[in-house]
Every structure is written in structure tokens, then in C-alpha cells.
Symmetry: C2
Subunit: 380 residues, 2 copies
């Protein structure tokens, strides 16, 4: 970071045609902001699961090697041949990373909206936020409430809007309750708080007893442990109690999505009465929004014909919801920044620190309870 | 069949709590038609894949045994334990079978609509059509065009309306071309004719070279053989040429649905340019409407986030389309009964004949090119 902000470090991810991933830090000039842009000095930017896809791509991080210097570290790793097809679109292109972050506005374009933000602490969903300085359009900024810090605002977009997007999708598609997997995650805890506040029945699916206890302590009524022997019976019980016919699944691979549909069908059949060889008429839906298990999804299709499964992504949801509704949701987030939508971190790292093999091994595991935030404004 | 039509044979399927399937023929009294009903003497009723689910359920038909007499045959078979859960809703309930058929109206209720059909040849989607006499509500009847026979009209509902439903779904969900699997089936040939007539680009997926040749001879432009070594490349080529982003899959199990989504994504990425780690923004959809392979569906999810897969069933589609539109589609079917929507049969059997082990082995295989029609009015 140059003293005058004219240049700054930026994290780049590059996958070469030969199958090598290279993560590095470049010193890049800070672009002049256009009329509707401001330059944010990034003071906090979280490493979300949604960032890892771009950061490490399909690389096998057990092959990661460190090179370069302490100030200019370079990490390399191998992308398995079988995964290279999916990387075709980004080969040999050095890409900035980091969906969101927060910091101080140090320069502003000519427009009144931009000028009004000079000196303010803002949250930004601008992409490329693993940078010391980043120009961002004012439309992608949220001015933080007075007194809120950059760390408090750093993750105010992706997780909060995803959580509110799930609730909004539930309403738009005429469901009245939700199922959530990997429910002990930062995002899952947030969804649990929002559902309690909005009195939405929620079935939390976790994988460990301590996660179960943690969510119950946070007020969750329905928590099922997919690793327990009685899982299917517990799940069906919770689905009967809540009437949930919509699930958001962060795991993706394996049989869990299919088990959820099976459970929903069992609950719906119990409620319906009368046999139909096509199953219940109630539509049962699972949206996969993450890929903690990159393996294939296996569907037994033992749930009649009224079911669907598909990908769910924040950006198309926001487009569907419309600008006005999104602005309302952003206001909800701002109002609950340090309560409902609070995010806690287990580690803070500088940009060079984010490239240490230890850090990568830790945040790359995507383990529940391990959450990193990058502080680009910190030197090392 | 009693001479006066007061009683008649009816095929029944029963799955007992002990896991035994029993298919039998009962002599049942013909109900008096209510005001809006007519009694149809059923002269032809096809064995569709959608009938087999109710007829044999989850039974393993390699264990089928014949019993009873020549006139009153009984067939029994075992339902594997693992499949009994899905049968829970129908246990110990003797169920009539046969979604559709055609025949002559021999009695009518008091309403003018019913009386007007006396003596007419009608197609009926009334359920329980594997019967010698069947009361059907006039709303479920189609009077056949003058000169059309019961055999020509027997299959005028399920397959034709499914085909038109696919085309209608394509339009309702903003796609402009279709992919179809098991495309050499009776239904597939019909879809091919409709798509040619309506100039809808169609990618036909088959499993054998002779099916490929047959469809090409019928005017199909894009035919891919999923058993050929170059399948994925051919499929991607056809998807690029047609821009198809909607598929209807009759197979269900295995990887084909996922391969289609992979192919659609490859075609969409080639058209888009620019990398997004979430894949193309184009929504790619597969509807599973059959289950020729009852095994699990395996999804690799190597097609970004804008994808969906789900069950598709005729009845909910008809409800969504609305009465008026359905009536228009029925008129299309009537107009093309012996051309576009013609169905050919490889064998005609009586009700007792439908219970011979040879016949069951043949139609139970659901092999393309093997299609049975039951002639209930025939004695044996």
C-alpha cells in the first residue's frame, strides 16, 4: 500500500493451461473513480465459501506449495485433469477475488452520490475486494450505521442477503417453512435468528452433536443430526411439524438432498391420505446453493413426481426480486448489522497472511466454526 | 361380459401387506351412470408405461406365477422388501387399472350432454379402463371424428396430451427448443412429428443405431445415440445448433439427465464468452417424466448454478394450462388422430390375455417398439 493510495496490493488467482493454479499478490495502480464510483480502502473482507470457488477453483489444495518472498508470496497447486474442463472459461486469466468487504472511502467521482460518501465507512459488494484499494460503483455500496466498524460491515452482503433471499424465495414460491443443511454455519445461525424473528418454522440439519446443542441454545426448535441413526425418523417428524416443503442445501453432493425430498414426501403422504402412484400432489423443492461435498448428487426419486431440485444463486435472485425490494432488504441488514446479521471470525489475516499454507489449509477446509477475514490494509 | 351389460370383467391389481402382488379379473356390476356420466363399453385400452406403475407396482415380475383358470386367471409376484415403503399407500386395496381407452357409449345419464353421446364412439381418460364397462364423466370424454375406430382413439389422451404438454411447457417457461430421451418410443415419434409441424428444433436421444435411422427417416434433424463413443460431442453440437435448454427425460435413472445439463452448459458457455465461476446465466432444465431406469439419478453438478431438474406429470400440467387451453389441445389431437397423433400397436390382447405370463414379460419390458392394446370387449 503506497502512502498516497496510488497503488496497492491485489490478490490474483490464475489457472494456467498446464493445470497449475497460482495465487499471488500484485502491486496494482488504483484506478481513478468514474463519476459514480468511489475508491474504498478495504479494511476487512471475509473469505466466504463463495469466494473459494474463484480463489482456488478446482485445484487440489493438498498439493499446494509456497514460493515467492514473505512480502510477495506465491502459492501454487495442481488442478486434477478431470476438473480442467470446468475451468476452461478462466484459463490463463489472472483474476481478482473477494466478493465483498468494507472500508473507508478515500476518493470519489464527480457525482453527488459519490462525493457524499467521502470519508465514510461503507460495505461494498464490488468483487475483487481482496485488494488494498478498490473502485466500486455507489449502487453496490451500503453506508454503515454510525459507529459500525469495517469488520462489522465486511460480510454484510453475501450471507445476510442470501439468508433474506431464502426467506423471500420461500414466500415467492408459496412455501411456509424452511429446511436448511449445514445449519450450524455462520449463515445457518443467521438464518435461525431471522426465522425466529419472523416466526418461520425452520428445520436445521447438522452433522455433529455439539452443533445441535449450539443451535438449540440459540433458540432453534427443530434440529436433526444427519449422522445419527434415527435421522430419517427425526427428519420426518420435524417436516410433519413444520410442513416445510422447501430446503436450501449447502452440501450438494451425496444423498442428503434426496433424503430431504423423501422425508417431505412421507410427511405430505401422511397428511394427504388416499394412494396415488405418482405420489403426493404437494410440490417439494430443494435448492443447492453450496457445494461443501463436490461429489455427485444422488436422487432416489422415491418421492412421486411433484419435486424439483436446482441451483440457487444470490445474483439472479436479486434480479428477480427487483431494485426496490432489494433496497428494503438492505435496510433490514443495516438495522441488524451487529445483532441478527452479525458474523464472527476465528482469524484475521493480512493479504500476505491469507497466502500462508497454514491459513489456506484452515479456511480451505470450510469447516463450520472456522471463518477468516482478510484485513488488506494491514501490511503483513 | 353379460349380454345385457349389467356386469363385466374388470382387471384389478392388489399388493398385500405380506409383499405379494396379485393381478386378477373380477366380474363386477356395471354402475348406473349419474346424470353427467355415460357407460362406455371399452373396446380398446392401451398399456402405457404410466399404467404399468399401478398394474405391477414395484413388484419383481421375474418372480411372476400364473394361477386361477383360463377365464379367471390370477398372476402373483413378489415385491422386494426394499420397495414396500413406496407401496405403503396402496396396501391391501384392490385397484382398477387403465388410464385411457375408447369404446361405444351404451348407457347415459339424464343430462343432455350425456344423452347426446348414446351410441357414439368416444375416447375416455377415466381410469379403470381395463374393464368391459366403465362409467365416465362426460368432461373426460372426447367424441371421435366420424369414421374413427376405438383402436384409433384408444390412446388419444395420455401420449398426445403429454407431447403437447411438453411443447406448451417449453413456451410457458421461455425455452425455444427441446431435448427428448427414449426418443424412438411411440411418444417420441409423436413429439418428432409435432415438432416438425410446429418448426420447433428438437434433439432426439436414442440408444440404438436402428432407432437413429428410424427417426431420421421420419424427418428428425438432430438424433444422438447415447451409446456411441462420440455422444457428448454430438450432443453438444446439436445443443449449439438448436439452443435447446429444456429436456424431457423418460429414463430417470443414471447419468443421462446430468449429461444433458452438462451439454447445455457447454453450449451456453460457448455462446456467452467471459468466465463466471457460477457458470452461464442461462437456465437449463430437465424434467423427468418416466422411469425406464428405476435406479438413482446421478447429478455431477458441473453446469454452474442456473439449472433445475424435477418431476413432470400430465395432470398438474393440465391444471396449470387451464380448461380452455386444454380444450384447444384436445381439438388438435382430434384433428390429427390418424396422422400426427397415430399410435401403432404390436399386439392386441383380451383381458385374460393381458394376464398371460408371456404378454406380461413382453409389455413389462417397456422396450421401444413393443406396444400392447387390451380389447376388453373380446372374450378371450
Amino acid at each position: 500500500m503506497s502512502a498516497d493510495g496510488k497503488t496497492g496490493l491485489q490478490l490474483r488467482s490464475l489457472i494456467k493451461k498446464n493445470g497449475e493454479l497460482e495465487i499471488s499478490l500484485l502491486q496494482v495502480p488504483t484506478p481513478e473513480p468514474s463519476a459514480d464510483e468511489v475508491v474504498v480502502r478495504v479494511e476487512a473482507s471475509p473469505i466466504n465459501p463463495s469466494d473459494l470457488g474463484l480463489l482456488v477453483g478446482a485445484a487440489d489444495m493438498t498439493t499446494a506449495k509456497a514460493a515467492g518472498s514473505k512480502d510477495a508470496p506465491v502459492v501454487t497447486a495442481r488442478v486434477p485433469d478431470a476438473a480442467m474442463r470446468a475451468m476452461a472459461g478462466r484459463l490463463d486469466e489472472s483474476m481478482p477475488v473477494g466478493n465483498e468487504g468494507a472500508g473507508t472511502v478515500v476518493a470519489a467521482g464527480e457525482s453527488a452520490a459519490a462525493q457524499a460518501l467521502l470519508g465514510k465507512v461503507v460495505a461494498a459488494a464490488g468483487g475483487g475486494m481482496y485488494s488494498q484499494y478498490r473502485p466500486v460503483n455507489v449502487a453496490l455500496l451500503l453506508e454503515l450505521p454510525a459507529g459500525a466498524t469495517a469488520i462489522e460491515g465486511a460480510a454484510s452482503f453475501v450471507n445476510p442477503m442470501t439468508v433474506l433471499g431464502m426467506v423471500e424465495t420461500m414466500r415467492m414460491e408459496n412455501h411456509s417453512a424452511l429446511v436448511h443443511t449445514a445449519a450450524a454455519s455462520n449463515l445457518g445461525q443467521m438464518l435461525n435468528r431471522v426465522c425466529i424473528e419472523q416466526q418461520i418454522p425452520l428445520v436445521n440439519i447438522v452433522r455433529k452433536p455439539d452443533q445441535e446443542a449450539m443451535l438449540r441454545a440459540a433458540g432453534a426448535v427443530h434440529v436433526c443430526n444427519s449422522a445419527s441413526a434415527g435421522f430419517m425418523a427425526e427428519l420426518i417428524g420435524a417436516l410433519k411439524a413444520t410442513g416445510a416443503t422447501l430446503a436450501f442445501d449447502a452440501i450438494g453432493g451425496g444423498r442428503l438432498a434426496s433424503q430431504i425430498l423423501t422425508g417431505m414426501e412421507a410427511a405430505a403422504s401422511a397428511a394427504a391420505g388416499g394412494y396415488s402412484r405418482y405420489g403426493s400432489a404437494v410440490h417439494k423443492q430443494v435448492y443447492i446453493y453450496g457445494s461443501l461435498d463436490r461429489g455427485p448428487t444422488e436422487l432416489t426419486r422415491s418421492y412421486g413426481m411433484a419435486w424439483g431440485i436446482g441451483g440457487w444463486l444470490l445474483t439472479p435472485f436479486l434480479q428477480k426480486a427487483g431494485l426496490e425490494r432489494v433496497a428494503q432488504l438492505r435496510d433490514q441488514v443495516a438495522a441488524g448489522l451487529t445483532t441478527t446479521f452479525a458474523c464472527s471470525y476465528t482469524a484475521q489475516v493480512s493479504l500476505p497472511g491469507a497466502l500462508s499454507l497454514d491459513a489456506i489449509a484452515s479456511y480451505g477446509r470450510q469447516a463450520t466454526g472456522s471463518k477468516y477475514v482478510i484485513i488488506p490494509s494491514r501490511a503483513a
